[in-house]
Structure formats: structure tokens, C-alpha cells
């Protein structure tokens, strides 16, 4: 018996959909035996307002399971998301944009008006350019993660999400069981050699290569944080590990935090700063610390910098 499934993308780059394709061999039985796709804008031309466009209300077919990628940035995203919630029994937030705001939520860190004006009219654009006010769905006041707007049953972060975990979640829904997802941090899945942070007093950006021998496996490379690089492993949820290793670490590059915080309501910037400070590392040596929220700026974590009033507050 197949399970009706609906895919939907909001403020998304389609990377999550490519991750679905990337499931590989396991995708074939999923599509041919287990899932019945009833709605998927990336694959099929299913119109929101009826196939001839004669409907008056946005509609999505009913489904057992819904996969939503992307955050909520404008009115259209919100309407689609609300309808998906209405129509799907189990709603899954797929990818870091849907679970924590992702890259688009970086916008939350600056003034919205200035940001939009910068997008549509810069010094180099032709005169007369302005922010459009027709034909484009109106933006919300900031970029939201899906769970800020509707109830989400399952969170599957990642930029992109791990195909193996997508398959696991889909199979879990098909089989009516709880999915087995990693709960720990990237560090817990990282084989790099830890010898203590003793000597490190500052962290630096990854502008020079880490120290390692190319012929050695990652397990013989010293922990990148202990080498003094800003690695977000301690504050990032595990799950990226493809062939047993966290993906960036496999490439000998520090973790950038793309799976969002370890606990769902965690705060990557605060946690990282706290981890550094508790280990005697100068947290002020982090360049542009707000960028530690580059993948998890929704939930009100990333806000425009307040310009301090000339006279002190209160």
C-alpha cells in the first residue's frame, strides 16, 4: 500500500529537492512502491487554483506526509505552508531553511527596508528602479522558520539534508514507526584527534590550510578547533556524516554549522561563545560573531543591530 505524499518548497533553492534525488538506489522502491506523489511543484505541474486556473482558493491535495523545504519569507509562502499543514497528516520540515531559517534568514540581521532597497536598486542600477509593490507577494517583516508559523511534526535540518536521513524519515512514515535520527553534535561524530585545547587562546578564520598529512586518514589529523580554527562542530547538530565522517571535516575544512543547533531551540552563536569562553579561549577573537547564526537566524535570534541612541537609554 502506498502513502500519499506532497512536496512543497517555500523560500528555497531546490538543494533539498536535489538531496531527495540523491537518495540513490533507495529512491526507486520509495517512488515505485511506497510513495504516491500527489503534489510536487518541482516535478509536476499541479496548479494551486485548479488546472485551468479557475479556482478561487489555493488548494493542495490531501496527503499522509508532507515535505516542506525553505523558510517563510512572504505572504505566498505563508499561505502555501498553512494549506500544507491543513492537508498533510504528518508535516516534515526539510532542510535548515525550514527548520532554522537558513541562509535567507541572514536578512533578519539587517534592516528590512535597507535590505530590500539594496536588492532592487544599488548605485549601479539604472535610474527609476524601486522595490516592486505589485505582482510580487509582499514580504513578511522577517524570515521565519516553518515551526514559527505552523505545527511541524518532524525536523530534518541540513544544508543540504543528508539523503540517507530523508530516506529513513520517509520509510519511518511508511512503516508507521519513529525515525532514528542523530541527536548529538558534529564533534560526537568527528574522528579528528583531540589532545586538549590547552595552548589555544584565540581562534582564527580558515584563511590558511589546516595542518595534516594528505596520506593520513582524518582520524590522525588534530582537531581543527585545537589547531585554532573557528570550527562550529561543538554547537552543530550531527547528521551530515556521509561516509562516516562529517562532510566538511572530511574535506579538512572546519564545520560551518549548516545543520543548525544541536538542541532544536539552541543558539549557535551563544553556545559557541560559551564553549570558547569556558575553555579559556578569547571569544572576542571571533571575527563577525553574528555570522555564527548564518544558518539559524530565524526564531528571532538574528536581529538588526540596534543603533545606540545618542543619549543613554533609561
Amino acid at each position: 500500500m502506498s502513502v500519499r505524499a506532497a512536496l512543497e518548497w517555500l523560500n528555497s533553492c531546490s538543494g533539498c529537492e536535489i538531496a531527495i534525488l540523491n537518495i540513490g538506489e533507495a529512491l526507486v522502491p520509495l517512488l515505485t512502491q511506497h510513495l504516491d506523489l500527489v503534489h510536487a511543484p518541482i516535478l509536476m505541474d499541479h496548479k494551486y487554483l485548479g488546472q485551468r486556473g479557475d479556482g478561487t482558493e489555493l488548494d493542495i491535495p490531501e496527503a499522509e506526509v508532507g515535505l516542506v523545504s525553505g523558510g517563510v519569507a512572504n505572504i505566498e509562502h505563508l499561505q502555501v505552508l498553512v494549506k500544507m499543514r491543513e492537508r498533510c497528516r504528518v508535516l516534515i520540515a526539510l532542510g535548515t531553511c525550514a527548520t532554522h531559517g537558513g541562509i535567507p534568514a541572514l536578512m533578519n540581521g539587517q534592516d528590512r527596508r535597507e535590505g530590500w532597497e539594496g536588492v532592487f536598486a544599488t548605485r549601479t542600477t539604472d535610474p527609476g528602479c524601486s522595490v516592486p509593490d505589485i505582482e510580487v507577494p509582499a514580504p513578511l517583516d522577517r524570515v521565519y522558520a516553518c515551526d514559527e508559523k505552523v505545527k511541524i511534526d518532524l525536523f530534518l535540518p541540513g544544508c543540504p539534508p543528508n539523503p540517507a536521513l530523508i530516506a529513513e524519515v520517509l520509510m519511518a512514515v511508511v512503516e508507521g514507526r519513529d525515525p532514528v535520527l542523530p541527536q548529538k553534535s558534529v564533534c560526537d561524530t568527528c574522528p579528528a584527534k583531540r589532545e586538549g585545547k590547552g595552548a589555544v587562546s584565540v581562534v582564527r578564520r580558515f584563511l590558511i590550510n589546516a595542518e595534516f598529512l594528505a596520506e593520513d586518514p582524518v582520524g590522525r589529523m588534530r582537531c581543527l578547533l585545537e589547531q585554532g580554527f573557528m570550527c562550529m562542530g561543538p554547537v552543530t547538530a550531527a547528521g551530515c556524516a556521509g561516509r562516516g565522517l562529517p562532510r566538511c571535516i572530511e574535506a579538512r575544512v572546519p564545520c560551518r554549522g549548516c545543520f543548525g543547533p544541536v538542541r532544536r531551540d539552541g543558539n549557535q552563536m551563544l553556545d559557541m561563545m560559551n564553549a570558547l569562553a569556558s575553555n579559556g579561549i578569547d571569544f572576542k577573537s571571533v571575527v563577525d560573531r553574528r555570522s555564527l547564526l548564518r544558518f539559524s537566524g530565524a526564531h528571532g535570534l538574528l536581529r538588526p543591530v540596534k543603533k545606540k541612541p545618542a543619549a543613554g537609554r533609561g
Binding site: 543558539n267 552563536m269 553556545d271 561563545m273 569562553a277 536581529r303 533609561g314
Partner: protein, 138 residues
């Protein structure tokens, strides 16, 4: 009725919580605005707890630990001090005034210092007004 701030105080079990006990038995008065949460060590107060308190409507947060060098767990209060620097630095990032947070040290035999610390932060926060008031106005 004027504004009565809510202050969350994280008190270390070994010093400031005992000092609060002593202040009680000695019938010393301190502002009723303070809600004490007993922790085993000031070093266990994660910055997220402070931020969480503020985001749930506390108007001020104070952490009280043993005098530096007198930690029951050797170096817990030094950790607290390092974390405190992070908290002070990051509060502005999350839209709160740094003055809403304070860390202070006292021993179990100094209830007067405890009362003074509680009174000081309560009065300071009372003058600042409710937390997030600036968000609503903006």
C-alpha cells in the same frame, strides 16, 4: 501602581543561597521582586539560561557565586566569570540592555552584601522599565 520588575537570581548552593537563608533568619529585608533559583555552582549557569529568563519576561538577571578563589568546585566561579563576559557582550546582539544582567560574588556569611546586590539590581532595573519595552515602542 508603579512598575515592579521581576528579577531572577541564580544563587550558588554553597554561598549566596546560604547567605539568602541567613538573611531570612536574621529578618533582613530585601526587595520581593527577586525570585531565587538555587544552582549547585554559578559555573553551571549557561548563558542560554540568562537569555531564556529575559526572553520569558524577566526584567533582570543576577548570578551570585562564591568569591573568586573560594569555589566549592575549585574553579566554577572562574568559568562563571568567563561566561559572564560572553553574556554581557552578547545581550546587545539579542536586543537587551547589558545593565539587565549582573554577576557578583559573596560568601555565606555576607547576607548584607546579598541584600545590597538584590536592592541595587532591582532599583536599577526599575528605572529601566520592563524588558523589551523598546521593542514594542519601535
Amino acid at each position: 501602581m508603579g512598575f515592579e520588575p521581576k528579577i531572577i537570581a541564580f544563587c550558588c548552593n554553597w554561598c549566596s543561597y546560604a547567605a539568602a537563608d541567613l538573611a531570612g533568619t536574621a529578618r533582613m529585608q530585601y526587595p520581593h521582586n527577586v525570585r531565587i533559583i538555587r544552582v549547585m555552582c554559578s559555573g553551571m549557569v549557561h548563558p542560554e539560561l540568562v537569555l531564556d529568563a529575559l526572553s520569558h519576561g524577566a526584567d533582570g538577571v543576577i548570578v551570585l557565586g562564591c568569591h573568586l578563589g573560594e569555589c566549592h568546585y575549585q574553579d566554577g566561579n572562574h568559568k562563571a566569570l568567563a561566561r559572564s563576559a560572553v553574556i554581557t557582550e552578547l545581550l546587545e546582539d539579542f536586543g537587551y540592555e547589558t545593565e539587565r544582567y549582573e554577576i557578583s560574588w559573596l560568601s555565606s556569611s555576607e547576607p548584607d552584601r546579598l541584600v545590597k546586590a538584590f536592592t541595587d539590581i532591582t532599583e536599577r532595573v526599575r528605572k529601566m522599565g520592563p524588558v523589551n519595552a523598546h521593542d514594542l515602542a519601535g
